[in-house]
């Protein structure tokens, strides 16, 4: 698997600067993810996939993040969608879709945002209608990679729902929908993630519901939220690790040794602090990965708290580590776009981490969860 990822990384390296400059989707790297079948990492081998595990997703996420955070985010979010199909799609539709994903034919985008509710997963305003055929009519303010996706997993209010909390997850092929991408994409960072507003209108067979109608809340708790937090944290850790690695290689190189005083206590302390932050995130990430793989009930507050702590901590610490490095190496290599350290890009990309399902909102959730665990137990 490492060889496959290396092939993707080589292609990504060639295009990362241009994708960032032009704020365009990394189509060449996506083609390589298809060719290497890494898009089917989580597809079981019996369907032609790589049969990978959650740990593999984290490993690949970190590795891709070292080169391009946008690409890593695109990849881990695709894997999150695939995990939902593997666990909850209904046969025979499931087998057919998994085979196509395993062959690298289907890149999946997630349509969970909605105007007025942000990224809140457990409610939906737009409703599905119909029974044997489900009518989809949905606007989403942010769909990462939506313009390039072959299929979409869409949350909508269940048919005949009594409340916005009855949410269904439905799959739609691009050719089952009329897809309109609107608006310009000019963000500070994460520019290659090409996360645009989209309008999706069409009709899909009832068998394309993932899980049961109204039961998306369970998929959110057991798959979407945990894989988002693990995958994002892996992408962020990889981004900061790549930045630190490039800084260390530069300082150790011939030219770097002339430029930097490696006996400087300030420089050494800054390198130490950056490394310490990343080791902390890595330990938390691996612990959370273990809990997600083994915990019988992820809805328990202790498990939720750990996963949320991972997301909040990774977002803060990975950004802070790269920010430290800017001070460590100074204006020329910390602030200029053309430095081989690429700290400027990493810092802009990582600034999105605290905002991507906002840390502020997660802290509110964690405050409530803390009240439900007065003993303060740890997992």
């Amino acid at each position: 698997m490492n060889e496959l990822v290396d092939q993707v990384v080589q292609v990504a390296e060639r295009h990362v600067a241009r994708a960032d400059r032009d704020a365009v989707f990394p189509v060449e790297a996506l083609a390589e993810l298809r060719r290497t079948r890494l898009l089917g990492l989580l597809v079981p081998a019996e369907y032609g996939g790589l049969g990978g595990t959650l740990a593999d997703v984290v490993d690949v996420g970190i590795k891709l993040g070292r080169t391009d955070m946008s690409l890593s985010m695109i990849f881990v979010m695709h894997c999150q969608q695939v995990a939902a199909v593997v666990r909850h799609a209904h046969e025979p539709f499931r087998a057919d879709l998994l085979k196509r994903i395993g062959q690298g034919q289907v890149y999946l985008a997630s349509v969970t945002t909605e105007a007025g509710k942000g990224g809140h997963l457990r409610s939906a305003e737009s409703a599905l209608s119909g029974d044997t055929a489900l009518a989809v009519d949905r606007f989403a303010p942010i769909v990462t990679g939506g313009a390039h996706a072959d299929g979409f997993l869409i949350t909508m209010r269940s048919p005949d729902a009594d409340s916005p909390n009855q949410v269904s997850l439905v799959y739609a092929d691009r050719d089952q929908l009329e897809v309109t991408a609107s608006g310009d994409w000019q963000p500070m960072g994460m520019r290659a993630s090409h996360s645009v507003p989209m309008k999706l209108v069409g009709s899909v067979p009832g068998e394309q519901v993932i899980g049961e109608h109204g039961a998306f809340g369970d998929i959110a708790t057991t798959i979407f939220a945990p894989l988002a937090h693990l995958g994002w944290s892996a992408a962020w850790l990889g981004t900061a690790a790549g930045a630190l690695s490039r800084v260390l290689r530069m300082i150790r190189g011939k030219e770097g040794r002339d430029r930097f005083d490696i006996k400087s206590e300030l420089l050494l302390t800054r390198l130490s602090t950056a490394r310490q932050r990343l080791d902390g995130v890595h330990a938390l990430l691996r612990r959370a990965e273990h809990v997600v793989a083994t915990a019988p009930d992820l809805s328990q507050p202790v498990n939720q708290l750990l996963l949320n702590a991972l997301k909040i901590t990774a977002a803060e610490q990975c950004h802070a580590a790269v920010n430290d490095l800017v001070d460590a190496v100074g204006l020329r290599h910390g602030y200029l776009k053309d430095s081989p350290t690429r700290l400027e890009l990493a810092l802009r990309d990582l600034r999105s981490a605290a905002l991507n399902y906002s840390n502020d909102r997660l802290h509110l959730a964690d405050g409530r969860l803390a009240l439900l665990d007065p003993e303060v137990r740890f997992v």
């Binding site: 909390n165 009930d297 809805s299």
Partner: protein, 79 residues
Amino acid sequence: MDARFTELLGKFLKFADGKPITEDSDLRALGLDSMQSIELLFAIEDTYGVSLPDDEMGDATFATAGSLWRAIATAGAAA
């Protein structure tokens, strides 16, 4: 489930629209969110003089009126 319980629940279920609350009533679908779960928990503990164990704080306990009532009954029997 006793009447005191369904009356208490009703205050937290904004989408119940006066419909009768049964054991199978889906609490989240009827409007119970995470903040209200905590307020409901405090109200239950005050009303019944029980303390639900930390292990009972997952989605399964707060899934339906019946599952929550069983957790209260179990906690009451243990008290």
